[in-house]
Subunit: 255 residues, 2 copies
Amino acid sequence: MSAKPTILVTNDDGVFAPGIKHLASIAKQFGDVIVVAPDKPQSGMGHAITINSTLRLEKTNFHQTNLEYACNGTPVDCVKMAVNSILKKRPDLVLSGINHGSNSSINVIYSGTMSAAIEGALEGSPSIGFSLCDHALEADFTAVPKFIEQLIQHALTEKMPKGVCYNVNIPKLRSDDLQGIKFVRQAKANWVERFEERKDPYGRSYYWLTGEFINFEPEANDTDEWALSKGYISVVPTQTDLTAHTYLNEIKNKF
Amino acid sequence: MSAKPTILVTNDDGVFAPGIKHLASIAKQFGDVIVVAPDKPQSGMGHAITINSTLRLEKTNFHQTNLEYACNGTPVDCVKMAVNSILKKRPDLVLSGINHGSNSSINVIYSGTMSAAIEGALEGSPSIGFSLCDHALEADFTAVPKFIEQLIQHALTEKMPKGVCYNVNIPKLRSDDLQGIKFVRQAKANWVERFEERKDPYGRSYYWLTGEFINFEPEANDTDEWALSKGYISVVPTQTDLTAHTYLNEIKNKF
């Protein structure tokens, strides 16, 4: 047994994506890295799991880590398989990303990247999801390692509460322009969707989901959207109790 | 324009499932019903959306409602398409289910049924997800209508806070044994997974996700798990701010 921490690395853009290459490479400085990541892009998969079909694992070696698999399932499947089928123990740290694109605010519930981190926390491991606010596959990752290293160090030494993970978003800025790390709350926001209708070659309609992000509290100065707009890396401690406690207290004796 | 409320009905078991047939039929007593539901089972899809491929709608008439579509996407896609592409307005009520199987406790984050209700709330409509704690397709729905009617009436008249929906779970009991409705919080719980490995006819491994549900607070008397165990229908008011506020307050000035 190695004394080094076991670090599980996953993502939702797939095992080939540049973002996970950077994350696995940074993670190797801190421990024994195992990569279990989707074999194809799984963006927007949220907390989906595979229960109506079967899962496969294929050994790969794109990241020259201790152990690597491409999985045909979702990001959450990857974490569940890594913990329960491959490692058969709780990793000391679960890292997801680096996502190509923002997962701030309400995006957390659609994000495969963050769902993998949330699943890591549910399994009992300190977990962090990293996203760079740049969708391009050729996104520039040069500014991010020092902040990611700082947060990994923190997660390995600080006792994060069980069931809590971090949602880390990094603005698309040059290293000199990044203002540091801010712990903040999830901004209230939503998407206004527009479905683009097209015709296939047979004259039948099909639709593409597109939309516009609306921040409902642009004046607030304690949200992830605010931090990102000011050049900070936003960190939202994230958990899975969805109960609306305030309203529950109102309604429970009234109904 | 009709003065009757517009009620969107969806689910995750697919437009053919018995549960949605019951729900659409009950909903018709309260307004103009539109059904937009997945064209195939989408259990466990969580808050997944379709962004890497295209969406299709097919007109159907299984439920003899005002307007009906089977959609090739996820439950959340169904709600987004109904609101933004078909109705082009916010429904007065979004109903999801009746799911075949429990969505209590942590199941809320894996559940397509509940993700559809959550999406309805994000779109600004009062929304309820209904689940019967019986996985069987031939589940007995005779005991449920009066409670569903009561909750629909409540949602149409009570001003539910924006962004909050209800996670309703109904125990598998005969009508006489149901104890009524309890507003409760989401129990802390998780699944311990076991992946069942099998060999395909070509000798390659594949895996089925199976698992056991563990309630971390079996002694608590204010959770959905407790209510269900006592024969109550559990209602958890559910929202989408995942911020771990208590921990955020601790860490934000310390880091």
